[in-house]
Symmetry: C2
Subunit: 460 residues, 2 copies
Amino acid sequence: MSNSKLAKEFAAIVGAKNVLHTESDLHTYSYDSAVLTPSVPALVVKPCTTEEIGPVTRLCNDLGLPVTVRGAGTNLSGGTIPHPGGVVLLTNGLNKILEINEEDLYAVVEPGVVTAQFANEVAKRNLFYPPDPGSQAVSTLAGNVAENAGGLRGLKYGVTKDYVMGIDFYDVNGDLIKSGSRTVKCVTGYNLTGLMIASEGTLGIFSNIILKLVPPPKASKAMMAVFDDIDKASEAVAGIIASHIVPCTLELLDNAVIRYVEDYTKAGLPTDAQGILLIEVDGHPAEVAEDAEKIVKLCKKIGATYVQAAETAAERESLWTARRNALPALARARPTTVLEDATVPRSQIPAMIRGVNNIAKKHNLSIGTFGHAGDGNLHPTILCDRRDKKEFARVEEAIDEIFDVALSLKGTLSGEHGIGIAKSKWMEKETSRATLDYSLNMKKAIDPKGILNPGKIIGG
Amino acid sequence: MSNSKLAKEFAAIVGAKNVLHTESDLHTYSYDSAVLTPSVPALVVKPCTTEEIGPVTRLCNDLGLPVTVRGAGTNLSGGTIPHPGGVVLLTNGLNKILEINEEDLYAVVEPGVVTAQFANEVAKRNLFYPPDPGSQAVSTLAGNVAENAGGLRGLKYGVTKDYVMGIDFYDVNGDLIKSGSRTVKCVTGYNLTGLMIASEGTLGIFSNIILKLVPPPKASKAMMAVFDDIDKASEAVAGIIASHIVPCTLELLDNAVIRYVEDYTKAGLPTDAQGILLIEVDGHPAEVAEDAEKIVKLCKKIGATYVQAAETAAERESLWTARRNALPALARARPTTVLEDATVPRSQIPAMIRGVNNIAKKHNLSIGTFGHAGDGNLHPTILCDRRDKKEFARVEEAIDEIFDVALSLKGTLSGEHGIGIAKSKWMEKETSRATLDYSLNMKKAIDPKGILNPGKIIGG
């Protein structure tokens, strides 16, 4: 079927103005935030009600057309790169917060609600939605769920999956599947909500999502500790956990990142420091004060060369500026920024950082490492130029070796960015052939024609 | 194949002494803790290593023999009642705690570890495993995961699923499937760990499980508040949540339960009270003291006729005795105790209790209601005699109506007991035909011969 004929079929469901098919539209939706080759879809379809998702999906299935759901396209593993000639189903028109229930501490949202906007609406009611992926200013909640997005608060508050109580989604026949509940406890039927989380649009297309809310912390305090040795910084992380303090944020910047950030911001960071920890504790004011004092003492005892606790909101803000600027500072150094998220049990961070530094040296690459030290989720970031084929071949070898190190330390390929098409080739190494077969079998039964975001996660 | 020939086949894998097939053995494993008709298996097979689970499962599949995994048989929805002529796979020999990692806050356990023994081992290391289902003294961890068991701490600490980081399990071919990780963040592949939770042995047979641990609370305080009106008790629950206090436990006993408990324990409970709340807060000592004071004030303001805060460990113990005795006190009143767990958003508790009381009156039945008011998970408990067919027909009608009320209040069939065979017939009412078809399709692909605990959850 020609693209214009196809467009008419979809226009009958969502209206002609919600079917995009000019060349520039199609190129706009041919890539996401991962460093991968773009792929041009045949059409972009933008439902204006969640009910329209059903017939759109059914039509794709009837025509055997691959369909890739896209929220804001902030995906870092290629999960929103469409199949060539397929359909992009755009959810940004489905952005209503349907309910914020203050008595029962949940909210019901349409898939395309922007994460930060939702968190702000919730905060206005003096409630708290903790997941805070780096892309929260533009990312959508359904995208967060489809990727099980993480963020800085993973250690204390968990990740997106810890806040999803229920998901309604459409199957390939366009029928609505209901899973989960507005109740904290629900064991009615298979945990399809759990199965949908991190399924990257390959098992169903999300409609409304029920999210858990919590009361906000009453107080918080941010600190910075500077170390002349990365192992000492890791020792401080271990010491904090061993003291049974669970910071809401516990971030690490290595020397390379510190230098790039200072070069970018001129904020006065010590460029000879080998590691900086940025730490925030929250909770009851008495607990926050005690924990902050303990952390400052502990960092000094371990040999921090400088420790600062923010006394004002402005001081707190300035501490977090360093962390927020890590990725932009790295990204401006070279044309291509490959942001990895191999993750290890937190006690293995020193070994992981040593491993990454050895790999950088071996392949003559610039790799800066920052990330969520509290939950072992580091972001080794490779600075390169994708157009330089020789260099990029070394980058690909380095990524291979980074995964090998993470797995040898009982870690995982991806902490929060997803598998998408970027990492599916490594899946068998971490799991097993039988695990992939189990997954492929299940996928085949749910999506016999293979139209739901084909090629993602498990290939297939 | 004759049972004795079958026994030999399994004995070749697990050893003759681990295949039970005397009549008394078979009857022992023909029922669980649900009020349902027993069903006698052909054999009981008891692996002594998790590696033996693979060949046992494969043999069942080769022979087309239904296999039901059983831990302690504390299941309340018939999930561990075997298929007639099938195999019971007993996990109580697989009870090793393989690792408690204090640095990285996780543990790795074999499936048959007893919940309370695990919690105690963890506590010895000054760590905390919060899920506390009522059967924890004997229930197994794999059973808890297979049912997504809840307990008293759901409101603040969540349920079993919130503590499962990874599950290795065997598929019908006897191959080991690996899911999840030792890291807090992991998005590598489908969330098969999530899918396994609450799957009641129908999608795979669990081997080792990775569980999350947390630091224990530093302090706690228990309180009791007595009300002459159940709506006031519910108002107190709402008031506590609205004050942004999240108690670790927030339990309710209605008048019927109070009377049965007092009759059993002679502890001096006020038998004319219409509702008792048992509340415990935990956390930092300053927060605990403040929260306890606020709760006492709030309960008095709402009109509690009596409020007591436990000042000593003995006083705390005596408060909790009433709650612990609720089920035994009800169970001794009549020959049959039907313990339901329909769950509603917590603000709907007064409507739910009114509904249950109307149903009791209409069908001339004794129903006592107690349970986890904080998370809306109530246990209407019907006292009856199953041998009295007329009465039991009324009980079945009452259960139907209890579910109708829960669903009309946006609740769910089961908060923590599972669907099993007891509630599968109501599944479509809560979800949809398409939801069941999606589930059946998936199940069929994973288990083509239908050997994994057939008939549970979705029938089929």
